[in-house]
């Protein structure tokens, strides 16, 4: 898929400013002095490995600011740790699943633990791709035409008839991906209608619902937005140039397989 992939991280609950001194963070109207930070990484999502890597990098960057940093997995021991060790703030480096769908954020809210990143409600809207795309449309943004259907729909109405309608409406090639997830896991370009059934089967190994989008070509750009002041602030756009043409899992995590241009050459 080509398009603007950056999602808006609104209403960040906490922001940390790097400093050799103790950092002060704002949580809504409260100001919190931060001495200890817990970085959450790992978890049980398909993106565990990516998350562990992100977590290590974040933890090491945070340590250079003089903060006391611990790295925790997101497992059954997490709530006990949060209660007993009580970090001043949590940095969520979880990829996929609980870490991105708003669940971990909601748990941290429950415990009253400040965290860096997008609040639970916004996570829920951004994590689910069909929901996010509907939000884009409502906001007047363009997004490739799509349809999202669960396995049960194909089973109940007849897979071939549904696939035919899908191709008739969206054309070929199609971008097929799980409705939730990241790192392009399970995402594939389907050039021919005869390949669609197999693509559906492999996609449904990742999620119960398939998102099929009209395939669009263009320049892929990611824009991160942070909310560290009175208003959200967009960071410079980053252009993604995958050597193999498709920004798939291998292109994302193999050094040298993708060139990043910042600012984007738009």
């Amino acid at each position: 898929m080509r398009g603007v992939t950056g999602l808006v991280a609104q209403n960040a609950a906490v922001t940390l400013s790097g400093s050799t001194e103790l950092s002060t963070v704002a949580t809504g109207s409260r100001a919190v002095t931060v001495r200890t930070v817990a970085v959450l990484a790992g978890g049980l999502s398909h993106e565990r490995e990516v998350s562990l890597r992100s977590g290590r990098r974040l933890a090491s960057a945070l340590r250079t600011t003089g903060l006391s940093v611990v790295e925790w997995d997101a497992d059954a021991a997490l709530l006990r740790r949060l209660r007993t060790d009580r970090p001043d703030a949590v940095v969520i480096a979880l990829h996929g699943g609980e870490g991105e769908n708003g669940s971990v954020q909601a748990v941290l809210d429950l415990l009253g633990v400040p965290f860096v990143g997008t609040p639970s409600s916004a996570c829920r809207r951004a994590w689910d791709k069909p929901t996010a795309k509907a939000e884009f449309v409502r906001a007047g943004l363009t997004t490739p035409d799509w349809v999202a259907l669960p396995h049960t729909t194909f089973r109940e109405f007849g897979a071939q008839a549904v696939l035919d309608a899908m191709v008739e409406r969206l054309g070929l090639p199609l971008m097929v991906k799980p409705d939730q997830g990241g790192s392009a896991l399970g995402a594939q370009v389907v050039a021919s209608a005869v390949d669609l059934p197999a693509a559906m089967v492999s996609c449904l190994a990742y999620a119960d619902t398939v998102l099929a989008e009209r395939f669009v070509t263009g320049t892929e750009v990611a824009v991160s937005v942070v909310h560290d002041g009175p208003q959200p602030r967009a960071l410079p756009p980053v252009e993604i140039e995958a050597t193999g043409g498709f920004y798939a899992y291998t292109a994302r995590y193999t050094p040298g397989a993708t060139a990043f241009h910042c600012p984007a050459r738009l």
């Binding site: 049980l44 565990r48 990516v50 197999a198 995590y253 050094p255 040298g256």
Partner: protein, 443 residues
Amino acid sequence: MADAPLRREVPSTPAVAPAERFAARTAGMTASEIRALFAVASRPEVVSLAGGMPNIAALPLDALSVEVADLVAREGQVALQYGSAQGVPALREQICEVMALEGIRAVPDDVVVTVGSQMALDLVTRIYCDPGDVVLAEGPSYVGALGSFAAYQARVVHVAMDSHGLVPELLRTALHTLAHQGIVPKFLYTIPNFHNPAGVTLAVERRAEVLEICARFGVAVVEDNPYGLLGFSGSAYPALRSMDRDVIYLGSFSKTFASGLRVGWALVPPAVRDRLVLAAESATLCPPSFNQMLVSRYLAGHDWRSQIKTYTEAYRDRRDAMLRALETYLPEGCSWNVPDGGFYVWLTVPEGVDTKAMLPRAVTARVAYASGTGFYADGFGSRQLRLSYCYPTPERITEGVRRLAAVLEAELDVMRTFGTPARLPATPPAVRDGPQAPSPHTP
């Protein structure tokens, strides 16, 4: 001019990213979705039937810790120093005694100690294979061997197995076909006992025939035998090397003692030995003296034969648990072998199921396996997977297979929805403890 600053004479060169300097043979060393999924398998919530980790829980750790302390106290000056590239002489003598259990008569001079037998395999491939050379291997074959062959840009031609191991007739056919193309493979790589991943053992009556065929076609034989002493019947099979002194034999203490020590070896003909030692020297200077001396003390001062018996009894219990669970839970259309030693069951799933594509569903269901395609160099094996029973407890194995069965049912349900494949088998294959799925592994 002589005083001109040197930097003026050096033309500037454009910046080159490190990745652009990588050798072409590393092209396949990329991030992988499958490897990423295995990161989840390390979590305790997941029953991992994927990895081949030995169960070292039964090791006498208290006695070993005394041994380690004594080794440092009494022989620390030697144990913590560089050593011989070929390995500690005392250990090489003991290795000959270990190999004698499988009928091998050898002298310590022909033994080269390595950092696990994986290193031995790497070194053998290094000294034998140029890019493009052909290596024969069973189909499927050990994934670590395929990795070594790929690293040296050797081409793998698989030869299929049945429930009695490598099929001599198919080996002969493969060699004939290659000969017609003017190709003589550099060697046959074979795991005759309790094969990884297929779990089968080369029938004793086939062993001489395999050696004879290779000799006739001028092909060396590399026998990888990490599991040979882990048979459930209590008696060892005769090694290929016991029948032919030209066989290159790879052995390991990883499964019979402790995998973390990384001590293995190669037993090679004298004509190969010197080159192998030189290759070893350039790779690591010498194998770790400390680890070798610890293994040597273990062999000298502990009842290692009883320890192997303890291991095999545990593995047999786990194999039995896996077989019971497979019989109880798996859907129709699955077949598997019954290994009589080693770590693995090789499972064939119903037609059309792609075990690699199904792995995300399995990980979500908290069970992991090794999909079959990783054990082939040519993309075959999508309908197979390897289950390891060596590490999880029997209870966890049962639970893991139960989860796997549910994953398979769900996958079949989706496949029926989409009609992939066009026709699912109406009746399951009758054979369960029969031949492996036929594979097009003749060249």
